[in-house]
């Protein structure tokens, strides 16, 4: 019966209780994700009967013990978690699940946004994704429309080279800037620097990437540089959302990427991209990175030079706006 259960709310700092939840999940073949902020357990006779967790707006690590299935414990857990997250300001919740659980989770107020052959991505607001697509741009997208997705952390001459090349080969170029604020340079600044550096390119439209392009919601591994078994699923999902919905909406027929010599996750993402895009008639175009002194120009190299205070070396690697910005935050002075 209902009243025989007790509930426990476990926060990130409660290592002992978190460990118990992890052990429980292990018995049903689910791995506990240590990044979660909150875990809610339903406990009966000192045994965990069911558990759920969330990291920001993403629901994770859902498990019900075999003996307690079909008792409506999921409904209790979801109700409690949604209310709890609401009180913390996380109104829009999302999750990844396997196709077999889609119907159950749909009955708990979730809607399928996109699915691949392995996973389903669901959200608890019907209109959020529709509104996102509608608000992407007011611009006219006729002719050859291309796209690039970039973090621009911050924008370098390497990025600019790729943008200029794509811009010259197409009628319209959308540059989606990853808007997740987990980068060294805040999104607003990354956007402003990109705006200042691409002003001379009339057919370039900068777009805030938002929650559905390489965000911690659609592609959690990217921000943790996690290379685990789920990475393929996340990549496929992110790219399916892009191809099936975003590109379709904006009439995009090409996506440019720079070769990725350093980051394993990005490299893998690009590989999956080269497989998925063509299925939706989108051309995958990989462009070799611009070299400077035999070394690829990358934002991480620029950030490292900035930390070392080597602004002389930076000057030839970045557009003027970025150069000024890096000097201003590192307390130096510059000549105009």
């Amino acid at each position: 019966m209902f009243y025989e259960y007790t509930k426990e709310y476990i926060l990130k700092n409660d290592e002992i209780k978190r460990h118990k939840s992890a052990l429980f999940l292990k018995t049903i073949d689910i791995e506990f994700d240590t990044n979660v902020d909150v875990t809610i357990n339903i406990v009966k006779n000192n045994q965990i009967a069911a558990t759920i967790s969330a990291e920001k707006n993403l629901i994770k690590c859902i498990g019900v013990a075999p003996d307690f299935r079909s008792e409506g414990l999921m409904n209790i857990l979801f109700s409690d978690l949604i209310s709890y997250q609401y009180s913390k300001g996380f109104y829009n919740l999302a999750l990844f699940t396997k196709a077999e659980y889609e119907t159950i989770i749909a009955s708990l107020g979730f809607y399928t946004i996109c699915k691949t052959k392995n996973i389903v991505f669901m959200e608890n607001h019907k209109n959020k994704f529709r509104d996102y697509l509608q608000n992407l741009t007011q611009s006219d997208c006729k002719g050859k429309v291309a796209s690039i997705v970039m973090n621009l952390n911050p924008i370098t001459n390497g990025h600019l080279y790729l943008i200029e090349k794509a811009s010259s080969e197409n009628d319209v170029l959308f540059v989606f800037i990853v808007s997740e604020d987990r980068s060294v340079v805040p999104f607003d600044i990354r956007y402003q620097l990109a705006e200042a550096s691409t002003r001379h390119l009339k057919n370039v439209i900068l777009v805030k990437g938002g929650e559905y392009i390489i965000s911690s919601t659609t592609f959690p591994s990217y921000f943790k540089k996690d290379y685990n078994s789920w990475i393929r699923n996340y990549c496929e999902l992110d790219l399916t959302i892009f191809s099936k919905h975003i590109a379709k909406k904006l009439n995009i027929s090409k996506r440019y990427v720079g070769t990725e010599p350093y980051c394993k996750v990005t490299n893998y993402y690009n590989k999956v991209m080269s497989e998925i895009l063509p299925k939706y008639n989108i051309e995958y175009i990989e462009v070799s990175r611009l070299l400077s002194e035999d070394d690829a120009i990358s934002a991480s190299r620029v950030r490292k030079l900035a930390d070392e205070g080597d602004f002389k070396a930076i000057k030839s690697l970045v557009p003027e706006a970025t150069y000024k910005y890096l000097i201003s935050i590192n307390g130096g002075s510059y000549e105009t």
């Binding site: 409506g72 209310s83 107020g109 019907k126 209109n127």
Partner: protein, 87 residues
């Protein structure tokens, strides 16, 4: 009734209903997910609309996840959510 923020009330346990109220600057929208949608979907919708009218609420998005709640329950949960949103 003037709504100032989004709010939620209720649960998704059996015979209850979870209702979310989001004030927004466009025409009202009511999304219902119910275990008994086929039988009672229209009735739930009518009930919600009548409560919104009674309380003079417009330009709102109402998300309903119903687990077979009776009318009284739906009415109580919706009013609670509305009052919380009006705070």
């Amino acid at each position: 009734m003037k709504l100032n923020k989004r709010a939620i009330a209720g649960t998704m346990t059996s015979s209850d209903v979870m209702i979310e109220v989001i004030p927004w600057g466009k025409t009202s929208e009511i999304n219902i997910k119910s275990d008994v949608e086929k039988q009672y979907g229209d009735q739930i919708l009518d009930l919600i609309n009548s409560i919104l009218r009674e309380n003079d609420v417009d330009n709102v998005c109402i998300n309903v996840v119903d687990k077979g709640a009776l009318d009284f329950t739906i009415s109580a949960r919706l009013k609670t959510a509305l009052f919380r949103a009006a705070k």
